[in-house]
Symmetry: C2
């Protein structure tokens, strides 16, 4: 069984929310940050509180490694501990690492993120160098059910610079990435019709969303751009075929939900932030379910 | 002064070799690996021996983080220690991390790799998501002289999948990446006419090399593909304008040079491997100088 099948089933039960643990230290209640032995400890404690509070409202979690690397070795220890805690809770987790390197190097990365200290259920991958930067990872779909989301059409403004370039032979670059990925996963298709690997497709280009969903029948989507990046439930819904074609990530709008709650201030603690995160995740889940 | 200026000057004195410390544990003499307290310790000791032996024959070093991540937190400690040792020796070092993420995330990565535990002089970046995944890094060129090499046309076979796609408006995708990068660095140009940021251009497509070098006058190149990947000194020379337009990376052909030396076997030590690496680096340096 592929992790992508498990994710599909988690969505069916819990809705589409992917909680993004892009935990910057300045998102943490100042009182908790001050009380922690280190910033890395503060990040880990905050993450655990938010995981406990959101676990029944989230299909999965996405951990953006940049926010941990920023804190050096201590930060990467907190990253490893966050992944471990998520595993212990039985949560599915996407390591947002956007790796893209070839051959032997790709296999080293795959071992790093699908095994050992940094083991996750899914990773994100960047396709620029070509399919030999994607294919090595798929051996872990075969042996351990692991999954990946390959950057296809992202939600940032710069997406137009290269992903969106029109090709001489027709279509845009992201289309060709989608074509190659769709072909690759045909030989690694799970119980629900989706491949072991899916694609990152942002919900910020409304006019194309339905067509992309229609065309990419075997690709489960990781959908960024919701909330802080401007995407709304309606936009995300267009990318969710039959209501279960992907997960929708939100990071800041959940992590920082506490800052706009009544009673917010320097004296609140992680349980206050966790309760706010829970409310934000549930609201987001319900908004998406209504929009489908 | 930009680090790219320092690299130009290092090439002028020491030649074009960039020693790639893509140190897999199975490249290390078995006797040393067995004697070390851990694989990560074995990697660090091997690296130090090779750095000592090659420092006067190498313009710079490139450390491929995948080989360290593979060993988990202990591996990343060896990565940080390798970078620290290189700094202590006054060597220039490229962190081969191929990051490509946007806005706030890019800034977190930049802080991680241009400051603190993992500080390097240069990084490698992947442009797929667009220029908003490159631009945030350049603030570190302004404040600390830091540099980057952006993937443009790489040396792997899969390069043809996306980088090489012909665009509707003319040229190939890698051309458009080059255009955008050349424009970006015009406002960050150093003492020798090259920008603070350069490009990764492989030496495996001989017929295009001279044209790429001609067209990209303000981009210093990081040139992979030499040795184990099939590129030769003649191919690399085509990418080196006036003899000083880039550095040429070799990893396996230097790290594993000891395995083909007379007397190689399970009983040799790191000093044997280091001496072989030194010879391989000097031969490579001289072959490139002859080919220019």
């Amino acid at each position: 069984m592929y992790n992508m099948d498990k994710l599909y089933e988690a969505v069916a039960v819990k809705g589409h929310v992917c909680v993004g643990l892009d935990t910057a230290v300045d998102y943490i209640p100042p009182r908790e940050r001050k009380a922690a032995a280190s910033d890395a400890d503060a990040v880990l404690a905050f993450n655990k509180a938010l995981i406990d509070a959101t676990i029944d409202a989230a299909a999965c979690y996405k951990v953006q490694i940049a926010y941990y690397e920023e804190l050096g070795l201590a930060g990467l220890t907190a990253y490893a501990e966050t992944l471990r805690y998520l595993r212990e809770q039985g949560a599915l987790v996407i390591a947002d690492i956007k790796r893209g390197d070839i051959a032997d190097t790709a296999l080293r990365y795959a071992k790093a993120h699908f095994d050992g200290d940094f083991e996750a259920d899914f990773v994100t991958l960047s396709p620029y160098m070509g399919m030999d930067s994607i294919e090595p990872w798929i051996s872990y779909a075969e042996t351990k059910g692991k999954g990946a989301f390959v950057l296809m059409r992202t939600s940032n403004k710069g997406m137009r610079d290269f992903e969106y370039q029109e090709l001489k032979n027709g279509g845009r670059l992201y289309d060709t990435v989608g074509d190659r990925l769709a072909t690759l996963v045909e030989s690694h298709k799970g119980a629900h019709g989706y491949g072991a690997f899916g694609a990152v497709v942002g919900c910020t280009e409304r006019d194309e969303a339905a067509a992309i969903r229609e065309k990419r029948g075997n690709l489960f989507f990781l959908i960024p751009g919701y909330g802080a990046q401007g995407g709304a439930a309606d936009d995300a819904a267009l990318l969710l075929r039959e209501g279960n074609g992907g997960v929708v990530n939100a990071s800041r709008s959940i992590l920082k939900a506490w800052t706009t709650m009544p009673g917010a201030g320097d004296s609140v603690d992680n349980s206050f932030a966790a309760e706010a995160a829970r409310k934000a995740a549930i609201e987001m889940r319900d908004a998406i379910l209504r929009a489908i």
